[in-house]
Subunit: 143 residues, 2 copies
């Protein structure tokens, strides 16, 4: 955690109470929080924090690479602390559950493909949707 704080400082930006708090909230949560959820949790610690500050902190943390933003089917962003191993997301269209999965082969294949075309890849998002095992039980398997 402390090394993350240091990363903020060494990016030339100031390590403020608010930025620390946003990062801590993401660090403590294994879910994919949206800006409003982060704002709510932040307010319970620091009631004076503003939503704009949450957005600005998230933008900074993304810029530094400590945080990633994902679009999980809804039209607002979800945020999570950057994980050591890249992973991807599956959203159940019925229950809304988000399942994470690793897919090294997929990542590998996509990178190679792009590099062959002269593209320099800096970010990759794989998002699937459908029905999780609980939700598609009892449904026909056709389609």
């Amino acid at each position: 955690m402390d090394e993350y704080m240091e990363q903020i400082r060494s990016s030339g930006r100031r390590l403020t109470r608010q930025r620390k708090l946003v990062l801590e909230i993401l660090n403590d949560s294994q879910e994919h929080l949206d800006a409003d959820m982060i704002y709510d949790r932040a307010k319970s610690v620091d009631p004076n924090i503003g939503l704009a500050t949450v957005y600005r902190s998230l933008a900074l943390l993304k810029e530094i690479g400590l945080v990633q933003e994902h679009r999980l089917g809804e039209n607002h962003g979800h945020f999570e602390k950057t994980q050591p191993t890249p992973h991807h997301h599956f959203t159940c269209l019925k229950c809304g559950r988000v399942i994470e999965f690793e897919a090294p082969q997929v990542i590998e294949a996509a990178y190679k493909l792009c590099e062959n075309e002269g593209l320099q890849v800096t970010e990759m998002h794989l998002h699937l949707s459908g029905y999780c095992s609980q939700c598609h039980e009892g449904k026909l398997n056709c389609e």
Copy 2:
């Protein structure tokens, strides 16, 4: 094209002038249009069409599966007619160009992985960003 119109009808919805127009616009364009671009083009044919109708038509066409929505890094949707072969998108962070690419191995691998976990996949979005060949020329290759 006519069979698409039929698909709207057979979904139990009405085949209106406006829905036809939105579908035609997407059919005629190889780009990834956003709602506003579609609205502009639609107005040039039918000046009375409303933006809300464009959104409602897009939602219907998505529901039927004739149209797909993608998030290409910006915070609004881009739409394209569903293609026969699934494909994916790369956005250049510098020039904004969107490059499409096919990746059967990637799709295959991701599907298999999910099915092994009991997930029924209905949709898949792979989005990469980085720098296209024109834009990363002259830059250092180290990250």
